[in-house]
Amino acid sequence: MSGYRFEAVSKCFEGETIFKNFHLSGQSESFLCVVGKSGVGKSTFLRMLGGFEPVDSGTIHIEENLVQKPQKICPMVFQSYEQLFPWLPIWENVAFPLRVNGEKKEIRKAKAMQALQAVGLKDHANKFPHQLSGGMKQRAALARAWIAEPKILLMDEPFGGLDMMTRESLQGLLVDLWKERKWTVVFITHDLREAARLSTKLLIVKEEGEWALLENHLPWPRDPYSKELNDWVRQIQL
């Protein structure tokens, strides 16, 4: 079971209260989307869960382990396209977690090719990151996180800077992978339609430490342009 738990977490950032006595439990295989206006602390929430940002008070647990620093069981897919190492070809970037684990090159390459196949980048395995488009880089970053066999996959507006078509295709890919691999995902976005399409739960972060949690029972598969999804989006108030 790969759940996570925030217990009485408080966090201030540059004098602003972002979370105040915050409690949240995330179940295994859930897909939590975190939405909110800019600057309310969405990314801070994710960075605290990932161990990149310390809490001021309270605790965060993943399974039963206290989060104190970043861990490879919770890989993060960042918003920045620069998250891949420019000096490594794509397959080596994807296989990086395996290299850290001391896997042999043949095994690394075989697994990386498998992951690249799943994200549609197999033909680009030997290219370097600067030779790929933004969307392709994010796919590669997703493949890298996948290969790490995440307990919780953290995604910080990973499709934020992409064009609509690429974004929707990546959303579809992510949903497929999430269902197939049974990941637990925490996904930050400022796009409610994206959140509605992806999530099983929606965390709305508001100003001054206020927040709300919604269940998303929209049926699968979800069409981002369906009336049902749009009606659900319309009722949400940030």
Binding site: K69, P70, K72, M76, F78, Q83, F85, P86, W87, P129
Partner: protein, 255 residues
């Protein structure tokens, strides 16, 4: 290809202008030797003289000095990354030593290590180490935070992190430090050789130049200059350009 045509045209125009000045007879051949005199002198020094062995001697010294500087620079940079106080001390040392011309240190060098190869190496080390450190420190300080976070995320630590993430990330700075280091080392070597002379064996290219001046062999002097220029350009456009193409250009990390 177009660039090479332009360069060739410019060189030919320069040679023609030179030769026109010579033919005008306004200047003595001792000041302005003809191109064919320079060519003949260079050929003779290469084939019958010691220019080739002197060149090998100089290149060996400069490579030794460069390698020593890089090894020291890498060592210092790595220790400085770990210990803040050491880094502060090195920063202070750089700000003091970097602007100091190598020639100003000559009296001290002679006192400390004499006038042999060690003295030349010392001058090269001084000329290369500080600019190399400035460039390399800068690159290490500017390592993208996101790459550090990815390394943190996958719990990469110690030497493996240094070799897999930090050093490749700082490679553009390392390379530019190396280029600056090479040009400064080459200049420092020739100056030092002119001063220290043939303290062992036949001396180097700097000593060759010095001898040519003493014996008023201006054609030979220009021949030596030509060799120095050709080596400088070859290093820049062949060795470093090749290295750049194989690394930072290939990785899209050009600055």
């Amino acid at each position: 290809m177009k660039r090479w045509r332009i360069y060739t045209g410019l060189i030919l125009a320069f040679c023609l202008s030179w030769q026109l000045i010579v033919w005008s007879g306004r200047y003595s051949p001792l000041i302005f030797p003809s191109l064919d005199a320079i060519g003949r002198s260079l050929w003779s020094d290469l084939v019958h003289g010691q220019l080739l062995s002197q060149l090998v001697f100089s290149l060996r010294l400069v490579v030794e000095g460069l390698l020593l500087s890089i090894a020291m620079g890498l060592g210092i940079a790595l220790i400085a990354r770990r210990f803040v106080v050491f880094r502060k001390g090195i920063d202070l040392l750089i700000s003091v030593a970097h602007p100091l011309p190598g020639v100003a240190l000559l009296p001290l060098v002679i006192l400390w290590v004499g006038i042999g190869e060690a003295a030349v190496l010392f001058i090269i080390l001084h000329s290369v180490l500080w600019p190399f450190l400035v460039s390399f420190f800068g690159a290490l300080d500017r390592l993208p935070i996101i790459h550090q976070e990815v390394a943190d995320n996958y719990e990469l630590k110690g030497w493996r992190r240094l070799i897999w993430v930090d050093l490749p990330g700082a490679f553009p700075g390392f390379l530019s430090g190396l280029k600056i280091g090479w040009s400064r080392a080459w200049r420092a070597l020739i100056s030092a050789e002119m001063i220290f002379g043939a303290t062992s064996g036949s001396g180097g290219i700097g000593w060759f130049m010095f001898q040519k001046r003493v014996f008023m062999d201006t054609a030979g002097l220009f021949g030596g200059l030509l060799v120095i220029i050709v080596i400088g350009v070859a290093m820049e456009s062949l060795v470093f350009r090749w290295l750049e193409r194989r690394t930072v250009v290939r990785w899209g990390m050009e600055r």
